[in-house]
């Protein structure tokens, strides 16, 4: 059994160097802008929340029920008092 190997040589694009460089630059600028915005958001979030990261809590086994790993998300974002939605009702011990 013979096999034929086909080789193709792709012609080198001509006159696109400027466009490639422009695209690369644009992509780099977009990345930098995105990083900057994320950093700003993160800063803002850190100012408004306590710095807490996700962590896992192990709840030990009881009887025949096996242990459970719980992934805990960060505490919800704090909202400045002036921007908080006001409650229309309140849960509390009966009164």
């Amino acid at each position: 059994m013979t096999s034929a190997k086909r080789t193709t040589s792709r012609p080198k694009p001509k006159g696109t160097g400027g466009l490639t460089q422009l695209l690369l630059l644009g992509s780099m600028l977009a990345t930098l802008a995105g990083t900057y915005m994320l950093a700003r958001q993160d800063q803002g979030a850190r100012a408004a929340t306590t710095a807490q990261t996700t962590h896992t809590l192990y709840v030990p086994a009881v009887g025949s029920v096996g242990g459970v790993n719980l992934a805990l998300q960060p505490v919800p974002t704090l909202v400045p008092a002036s921007q908080r939605v006001r409650p229309v009702a309140r849960t509390r011990s009966s009164r």
């Binding site: 929340t49 998300q73 919800p76 908080r84 229309v88 309140r90 509390r92 011990s93 009966s94 009164r95």
Partner: protein
């Protein structure tokens, strides 16, 4: 156009079951009046049948006839059934058969009137942990309480009625029923993720009811219930001891608890009430483990701060900054 403030919708306030109640309905004021008044009537009707303080109520009649088979109304049947189911779901930690023990602790009249009365002797005749399981039911809505055992359906009846009220009000629009601090919500108000409801900080000792309340958290509540049990408000003194209304079914005495309040959010108002009460009996550490295992969405509050379960976190709109300096999560 921003959605209307949920606080702007019509609301009716009234007292029933020894508590301050309110009902809010997203509807024009003219359209809301009749359904809101109907809900006040519903609470009054349920109280008349299920009050343990009224000797003429159907519940009091059933309690007087413990040991006998008694045909009960559909309402009493349903609420008793819900309370006994809650007993099973909480492995006996919520127990509706502890009325004798509650009265022995001094809570033998409406809370406004609990004064310097002497404790009565409890009339326990069955081991505490088997009591609820010995309540018998058979077809024809017949109930038989074990001899000497009496039911207290207070908290469960409130949640049950609030849930029925929401079922009825759904036809008119989104609604929120506040049954003395236990809340049941229908659909969210238009343009909102839910009804914004606060989880109140425990009442400070000696503070009057008029003192402005502080919220620990704000939750979005829609098509769900949230109930809080606590030893922060309904408490009294006997012989130098501070007593309260949460009886530990394992001892028959007011629970020796390090918790001040426990709040549960659940699709079922009865389940929310039962698990909030069970937490008080368990105490902070054991309640924490039980809630995590059962995936309960709730908040435990003790003197050290508050603990929020993972299941509740997606529903929190904001948390008061001062609570974050303390242990905050389970």
């Amino acid at each position: 156009m921003s959605p209307a403030d949920p606080a702007s919708w019509p609301e009716l306030h009234f007292r029933a079951m020894g508590c301050a109640m309110s009902v809010r309905l997203v509807a024009r004021i003219e359209a809301a009046q009749a359904p809101l008044r109907a809900i006040a009537t519903l609470f009054a009707a349920v109280e008349k049948r299920l009050s343990r303080f009224d000797p003429a109520s159907e519940l009091s009649t059933l309690n007087r006839r413990s040991g006998e088979w008694v045909v009960v109304s559909p309402l009493l049947w349903s609420v008793a059934d819900a309370a006994l189911a809650a007993n099973e779901q909480t492995d006996g930690l919520f127990d509706p058969t502890l009325l004798a023990e509650l009265e022995a602790a001094g809570y033998d009249r409406s809370f406004d009137q609990v004064a310097a009365t002497q404790p009565l002797a409890a009339e326990t005749r069955l081991p505490l942990d088997t009591r609820a399981r010995n309540v018998e039911r058979r077809s024809g809505r017949e109930l038989r309480l074990p001899p000497g055992v009496r039911l207290d359906l207070g908290g469960i009846a409130k949640g049950y009625t609030a849930a029925k009220a929401v079922d009825a009000l759904r036809h008119w629009g989104p609604c929120l029923v506040d049954a003395g601090g236990d809340l049941v919500a229908g659909d969210a108000p238009p343009g909102w993720p839910g009804w914004p409801v606060g989880v109140a900080a425990p009442a400070d000792a000696g503070a009057s009811q008029e003192t402005a309340e502080r919220d620990l958290l704000l939750l979005w509540l829609a098509n769900a219930s949230v109930a809080t049990s606590g030893v922060d408000y309904r408490h009294w003194a006997r012989g130098g001891c501070r007593l309260h209304h949460i009886i530990d079914p394992r001892t028959g005495q007011p629970a020796q608890t390090d918790l001040r309040t426990a709040t549960v959010l659940d699709p079922s108002a009865v389940r929310a009430e039962a698990w909030a009460t069970a937490a008080l009996a368990l105490g902070a550490a054991a309640a924490e483990q039980a809630w995590l295992r059962k995936r309960i969405a709730g908040v435990l509050v003790d003197d050290a701060g508050l603990r929020v379960t993972p299941a509740l976190q997606p529903l929190i709109a904001w948390q008061a900054p001062e609570t974050l300096a303390q242990p905050t999560r389970l």
